[in-house]
Symmetry: D3
Subunit: 206 residues, 6 copies
């Protein structure tokens, strides 16, 4: 790649430092973490988990997966969970196409890693995925501790956390779940933004 193209690629990836993680915006967190923060912490957590397990791990692969796994969001931004019913059938293809356009020549080495991560079969893929989900519930726990936004929805994420066979991830998730529970206490959860009411239903009720 020529220097202009490398810089263009750097500048696009830099966009991730500007994009807030949309789930936290929806939950009312003031000044929430960026997409790049999420990637950074996922990488850090994956590294730490890898130190705790016996099997050898390809660390270059693990960290690259963690760092590049949101590349598509450079152009598509971070879509919230509640968008799933409307976008899920085409989202993955859109992310892949965008990633190729963003990364140019670098895509040749990155895309197979993202594919591997998606398949969740190799140890490295499971490690990064377990780290990513752990990052999310840990963030919810920090925010609950600091009263930043309404974290009641994330009780469920902590509850159904799947460590994908990574022992230390399961153990840490237990501590996160306990602490999140302590910080949230009896706080009620108002399930907002997920309903799929029909016009007919509302007319009947009116």
């Amino acid at each position: 790649m020529n220097p202009d193209r490398i810089l263009e690629c750097m500048a696009e990836m830099h966009t991730l430092t500007r994009l807030p993680r949309i789930g936290w915006i929806m939950a009312g967190v003031p000044d929430p973490e960026s997409v790049s923060d999420h990637c950074f912490e996922t990488a850090i957590i994956a590294y730490m988990l890898a130190q705790q397990i016996a099997e050898p791990v390809d660390m270059g692969k693990v960290l690259a997966m963690a760092l590049f796994h949101e590349t598509g969001e450079v152009r598509l931004t971070d879509l919230p969970r509640r968008s799933a019913p409307y976008v899920k059938q085409f989202k993955r293809k859109a992310e892949q196409d965008a990633s190729v356009d963003i990364l140019g020549g670098v895509a040749e080495s990155v895309l197979p890693l993202l594919e591997e991560m998606h398949e969740l079969e190799t140890l490295e893929a499971r490690l990064v995925e377990a780290a990513e989900e752990l990052q999310i519930i840990a963030a919810a726990m920090y925010y609950a501790k600091e009263n930043r936004g309404d974290m009641s929805e994330y009780r469920r994420d902590a509850e159904k956390y799947d460590p994908l066979g990574i022992g230390p991830a399961a153990a840490v998730a237990e501590v996160v779940k306990r602490r999140l529970g302590e910080y949230l206490g009896e706080k009620p959860y108002w399930e907002l933004g997920y309903s799929r009411h029909s016009v007919a239903d509302d007319r009947a009720k009116g």
Copy 2:
């Protein structure tokens, strides 16, 4: 609709006050306007333009179009221009489906308005569309005046502004274009984030 459902609808529309207009984020504007700000100003501008024209205007229709025209973004968020190649074929359907789910019984009166606005045939539809685009270039001009972000991309928006036959909109757009030009001066435009490089191209250049 029952009161719980009305409140749910209010709370979802409230989300628009939390969502930053993503184009400004991409342009590096610190603390940019929200989607609700964009709708508010579009309505204000449409009202003002309507005062300047001779034909009678259905003001209830005009203002409702302006206020509700981004309803789908409650669940889909504000997608940037650069996402167009990846999402354009399904975006409108997704917005419509999301709007129905968000608005419930209120959708019965709102959706036909959004459809009318999309068709751009009635005077009211053209008025709101002309106001919306005027809001965007005026915002770019305010930001350029205040040095907030890189507005060089919006020279082109001002250049190709289409007033859709609304005379006063055309006249105001001319003033906006002139002022934007004065504030931007010779500032270069770096077209970032729109390229569609192929891996093969990059390999060839490397």
Copy 3:
């Protein structure tokens, strides 16, 4: 109005997107809604309420009232409740004069609407006023849900909410009050900033 004057008017109204609602600043809400957000939501709520009642409503009038009712704040900013003892006798006149200067030719159609809203006699006026107050207590409820600032003062606003004869407004306010109560729990209210101590009193206590 000539195009320069229309743009000046647009630019002044745009100021409302920069002004934070001061009550939330006083309550310690980080990054609170703007005055324009308040107007936007008041309009949205008024529209929804109008859909729920049997009487015919002049929607153009309702939405214009909601959108322009804070025009004077463009130059006077949003004064907090605690300023009332010092400014109440001249505030309304100041807002009216400022509105005329801001709106220019547009004032001819807007000012009578603001006057009508102030009188609270027509259905449209009551609808907008009921929507405005509902917007405030709903915002307090969202902030309480999200732990943003100290909302204990707003229990009283919810308690004394006056729907002005708009049935669905009363019903929604009941739900808001219940939810606000749940989120606030036993939180104490410290009445700060309203005292009118005399120097003599403090000397006696000292």
Copy 4:
């Protein structure tokens, strides 16, 4: 004063750390200085100027004037220049009344200082006033240097700066004016928000 009353007074003065200086908001400065920042810097500058002059200065008086001179804004907030035509006849009285209510027993020592500052006769009063205005044009110069907001309006403030006989203040203001000019260059000034158009005028022009 009893401890509860002292704390109430502390808590009200603390409000000044939450209030943005409204002039900077109007000029589009992102995240501008607070009223307390303005008071802090005014005090610092007054202290520095006092070190440069031969006459003896009552420093306790100077610093107290600087620190408390915006007390009334605790309840009235910082009103922008453009509000002057609408509020100037009652603003000073409102500020005085609010200051008494805020400060309670402390008002006995503070109010005479604010009165002295207002008269601009003593050396201390002139020193603080000269420092306050110097703070404003220096802030405009820092913001111009950092591209934060549109500082073109403040050229005039620098131009007409009155050092009130404080020699070093005049000398520093000259440097500020020169630097502000360098940072602003040829930037045009759009006088927005001060016009006092009559409806009749606009009708004539239309």
Copy 5:
């Protein structure tokens, strides 16, 4: 000092309005007070406390101490408590050297005051120190009231508050402690960031 040097000094002190108090950042407070806010409030509180005591106080000295006591942070920034084990032996010297470089000729009058404050022997020094610590626990109490960040660590600061013989400071601190306790309730404290684990310890535990 020549005007350029005075302006340089002003501009450096201005930096304190940009620096967030780092302890609040660590506690997750969104948009926390600046170092200048801390100095401003310390000065205000010291002034108020001085009004409540019988002994005569040199107010110029008191306020100057409060305003300049963080001068070194202009170049060193506000180091958090948890940095103490690594920096305590050289921090004071670094602050003194930086203060001299920042203040230039003004240092001649300021440095002896900072030295006096450090010794905690004179009434003025004790008054400012008592005010400074009172500012910190009062800020924690405001933040707890407003749900901004995790204030559980500051229970201990309130508990061990030392009024240094200033009676009214002790009385106000009691009210602050009570209110802080009410706002925090049973909230657990997680002592994070202070541990000094050895690698060996962790290996043993693993």
Copy 6:
């Protein structure tokens, strides 16, 4: 390490997402990138550069260096350049000690990497260092493009950029330098905050 200790380590590293890069604060950038953003982008850039060179690279080592190279800042925060004269003799030792305390058992694998990076001898160390400095000048260029803060100081950083023998880094730095120059134009540089005036000097000048 036990799960509580791993979570503690995660939570401390998470602090880096809250710490603003202090150089940008000093330059007046509103809402600047965090320390974690800097690490994330350094890693991304190092990865891209590694793809452009012929020699084989240990990618796990490269990415881990980039991600952990600011670990000490968790407790020491990001000290600005202007602090160098006061802290340089003890800063490195403080960072090392803090890193050990933060990372616990993970320090065993991380510290040797940070040591290797410091030595700048291996290809991996040079690659990460070249990426880190490239990240800084590229950020200055993005900020200059977006008018965020005063980037005039960074012309010098771009000028003296040392690619440490990494060819593509040198080539990209040339493009960055050119673009930075275009965006800054003739903007003057005011060297503020680095002077080391003696009191005697200022007295002479006064």
